[in-house]
Amino acid sequence: MNLITRGILQIQEITLLVWRVLRGMLRAPRYWREMVQQMDILGFGSLVIILLTGFFTGAVLSLNTATTLQKFGVQSVAGQLVATSLIRELGPVLTALMLAGRVGSGIAAELGSMLVSEQIDAMRALGTDPIKKLVTPRIVALVLMAPTLTVICDMVGVLGGLLAAITFQGQATSVYMASAREAVNYNEIIGGLVKPTVFGFIIAIIGCYKGLSTSGGTVGVGRSTTQSVVASSILIIAVDFLLSKVIISLLLDPR
């Protein structure tokens, strides 16, 4: 099978998986308990890395832009610059990339191991639909938790930027915060939430698809895990470009 045929086949299989998930959501049983459990494992479990990512990204952004802003005599807009960059771009993308690395790989590895050790077949043999029990809760969890974590990443990033501005530029807290507040409006927030929702879906569906299409034993599990991270990371960056264009056209700069 050549590369193009394999690519088309994978798109077809992923579409089918999405269709099964959506169709399954309309019918009982629904695994609420698993959904909450996955929110805890995938979402709350990623909190620390998101806090660290957000904080240092905001701080380094503030640090790197300070000289340029000073050159033009507009150090006072540092807060706005950090907040806009984080809400529009860095918050959603960095959160998604961190989740793809931590959570997407975990999903692919877990489902892949279950597949090669016949646990998925056992589940079906015991009368459970693995799509409903394993895939849907992970998708729901990430679609809800990715935006939540992005908001936390944005907030901590702004604080990181503030700390850098106070420490290294001697800027007043009130100046930084007033400037940052200017960047926060409803359209920015909506735009900043649409992206991580889509990214969360991408991470979950790619992780689940790669896990459930594992072949070749434990070596295959490793391969699926790597492919899941690579595929979702590239998709996140590509979709980010397209979404940015749509969001700018519709919400931020409509002409």
Binding site: P29, E118, Q119, A122, M123, R124, L126, T128, D129
Partner: protein
């Protein structure tokens, strides 16, 4: 048309993965209460056969009947009802790693929203049957290979299915543990009237399953006996697969007399 005497029936079933033919026009039936021991080398389609019965795979051609129902074209939702009649024992047990022994055995009942008190009674009964009550709170990674498979049997027995499928449950086990697994299969066949397909390539299993039986004495104790003057086993049949074809079907005595060089080599 389904044969009313068969719990499982294959009619001219064929299946291929790409260019590789796994089953080629395979037909056979497992009568109610009968055990069918399926033998053959690796890659001859033994495990595939079981997956077809469960509807985990669909045949390219032919019909498959389970308990008189034609399941060949059943959708996944329809198969869920059929699967409640079947217990499957997987090769390595296929226990859910994240669940304890108790939760593994209780899995099917939890899915059916059975009250917790009832679940506990069933789980204890099943674990007692496989003699693993002590392992109730252990996690699968704390169990030996033989214990995992016995828990797998306990899990398959929940809901008292009248059809059990064994996918090489003794592979890689020491002779004593393998015998324990075979004895469980005998208990189910002779005392619970379960129909089964037992996939194996171990001659020792074939010997036990095709020449021993179990009875209960007046005090309720289990006694394992060899067929012979008192009784001749008619509820266990053997079937040999080779290159996707059934090359032998019959009793153990008939198999030993078969002139087929592959069978003779298998038995030697």
């Amino acid at each position: 048309m389904a044969n009313n005497h068969y719990a499982i029936e294959f009619q001219d079933v064929s299946l291929a993965f790409g260019d590789r033919i796994i089953l080629d026009n395979v037909s056979f039936g497992v009568r109610y209460g009968e055990s069918k021991v399926v033998m053959g080398g690796s890659g001859t389609g033994k495990s595939t056969l079981l997956r077809l019965v469960l509807g985990l795979l669909k045949p390219d051609a032919g019909r498959i009947f389970v308990d008189g129902e034609d399941i060949t074209d059943y959708r996944e939702e329809q198969m869920m009802k059929v699967r409640s009649k079947i217990g499957m024992v997987f090769q390595e047990g296929a226990l859910f790693d994240s669940l304890s022994v108790y939760d593994n055995v209780a899995y099917r009942l939890r899915e059916q929203k059975v009250p917790e008190d009832d679940i506990e009674a069933v789980v204890l009964r099943m674990l007692r049957f496989v003699d693993l009550e002590d392992a109730i709170d252990k996690m699968p990674n704390q169990l030996s290979g033989g214990m995992r498979r016995r828990v797998g049997i306990a899990r398959a027995l929940v809901g008292s299915p009248k059809i059990i499928l064994y996918d090489e449950p003794t592979a890689g086990l020491d002779p004593i543990t393998a015998r324990t697994i075979c004895e469980l299969a005998l208990k189910l066949r002779d005392l619970e009237d379960v129909s089964s397909i037992f996939v194996t390539h171990r001659l020792q299993d074939i010997e036990v399953l095709s020449s021993e039986y179990v009875v209960r004495d007046d005090f309720g104790n289990l006694i394992f006996e060899h067929e012979g003057d008192k009784l001749c086993l008619v509820n266990t049949k053997l079937m040999m697969l080779k290159d996707g074809d059934v090359i032998f079907s019959g009793t153990d005595e008939e198999m030993r007399q078969s002139p087929d060089p592959y069978i003779q080599k298998f038995l030697s």
